[in-house]
């Protein structure tokens, strides 16, 4: 079994068996031992906010308590933090004996982070699938497609949509959106010849996220031509032209214009 296969399998197994699973894309939800945690268990919104903040900053080193508090709340005191952290640990590990270390949050002095070895998080898994997809792209396209598809299956909407007005969520939301856009386009490109209809659908999904994503229009034009639908290919160019003019006041790139010319020359 190749390394890439092995990595995919490990990610899949982790998703299925992790004691704690956190979903942040399209909606926020936490599962403990495969059971969804009810909203009432959290008791306070600040507890959820702290968990979401730790998820948003999971790839940084352990975060100092004061930095976390400054990022989250304007008026805070030690008690707020302790109560919120206790709330997280209580919800994630209700049976944990007192005076024992928490398993899913790691504490180093006064710095804290999520234990990524034990907690499965959709955005973290999505990024790992994309990394496998990118690394396998030249060596093994089949693996690459499998990894990209697994990543896109996890994308159920934007990152923490109910916190869209909180600036500490913006960076992650933007990062995920760009990763997903890129993945839709790459997968649509490598699928184009064998399955143009699927490429059209993938490009459409990219356009649903960002209607000005020019690469997606080009892929759709190519796919329609492969399907023998010249009028639709030309219509797609027109759509692209209109949206770029409306949103940026610019024309499509020469590459897109050249493709149109090639399509127009087909009889």
């Amino acid at each position: 079994m190749s390394d890439f296969h092995q990595q995919l399998l490990e990610l899949q197994t982790f998703q299925e068996n992790a004691q704690i699973r956190i979903e942040t894309l399209g909606n926020f939800g936490v599962w403990r031992n495969q059971q969804k945690i009810e909203a009432k268990e959290w008791t306070r919104d600040k507890t959820i906010q702290l968990l979401q903040y730790l998820v948003s900053n999971r790839q940084r080193n352990a975060l100092h308590k004061e930095k976390i508090m400054d990022g989250l709340w304007e008026d805070w005191n030690d008690r707020d933090f302790k109560v919120a952290l206790h709330g997280i640990n209580k919800v994630l590990e209700p049976e944990r004996p007192s005076r024992t270390e928490a398993m899913f949050t790691i504490r180093q002095g006064v710095s804290y982070q999520i234990n990524l070895d034990k907690v499965w998080i959709d955005v973290e898994a999505l990024e790992k699938y994309i990394i496998i997809g990118n690394e396998a792209l030249i060596l093994d396209k089949a693996i690459s497609k499998k990894a990209y598809k697994a990543a896109l299956n996890l994308y159920k909407g934007s990152y923490l949509p109910n916190r869209v007005y909180e600036d500490w969520t913006s960076e992650e939301r933007e990062k995920v959106q760009l990763l997903v856009l890129g993945t839709y386009i790459t997968l649509a490109e490598i699928t184009l010849k064998e399955n143009p209809l699927e490429s059209i659908r993938l490009a459409q999904n990219a356009l649903a996220i960002d209607a000005t994503w020019e690469d997606a229009y080009r892929i759709q034009m190519q796919a329609y031509i492969l399907k023998g639908n010249r009028p639709q290919a030309i219509k797609t160019y027109m759509k692209c032209e209109v949206i770029l003019e409306e949103e940026y006041g610019i024309a499509p790139l020469p590459e897109t214009k050249k493709l149109l010319k090639e399509i127009e020359e087909i009889h």
Partner: protein, 170 residues
């Protein structure tokens, strides 16, 4: 005292670069998107000055909101101080005019929207004074340049209006 959240405006800016060949020459195109996190407004731009204007309008609204219970004199004074920090407006102003010459129809619509928005939010009296204050440091030659550019702009707008009319009639 106002809460920190009410005194904060965060912006997320995305730039997208495209390098391409055209007529045997390498060219670069920048496209961007700016979002105001706290209210979700977005604007796409191909000229960064549009992004700056977007920010300035939101920051102006923030100052206006924070000072709405003060007297109009106090509010005016704070807005003027705030404006003086945005020195970039001096660069943005002429650039907006240049862009208007390049694409009068689009720029005219943008300006119209922005001016309308400002008038609605700040109020006529302050709005007029703010505009004068923005140009306080301009020299006589700056004014002459602006005057010439406005004349050119008017002539371009007339041409566009004629074109639009002819398109409508067709």
């Amino acid at each position: 005292m106002k809460k920190k959240q009410e005194q904060t405006a965060s912006f997320m800016v995305r730039f997208n670069q495209q390098i391409f060949e055209e007529n045997g020459e390498s060219k670069i195109q920048w496209k961007g998107k700016i979002s105001h996190v706290q209210n979700g407004d977005e604007k796409r731009f191909s000229d960064f000055n549009d992004a700056l204007t977007f920010m300035q309008i939101r920051l102006g609204e923030l100052t206006e909101e924070a000072t709405k219970h003060q007297t109009s004199e106090e509010q005016e004074s704070i807005i003027n101080k705030s404006l003086s920090m945005w020195k970039t407006i001096k660069d943005v102003g002429p650039k907006v005019i240049r862009d208007t010459l390049k694409d009068p129809k689009k720029q005219f619509t943008n300006l119209q929207g922005e001016i309308q928005g400002k008038i609605m939010t700040i109020g006529e009296e302050i709005s007029e004074k703010v505009q004068i204050d923005q140009w306080r440091n301009a020299s006589r030659s700056d004014f002459n340049t602006i005057q010439k550019q406005i004349e050119m702009l008017s002539s371009e707008i007339k041409k566009v209006a004629t074109k639009i009319d002819s398109i409508k009639n067709n």
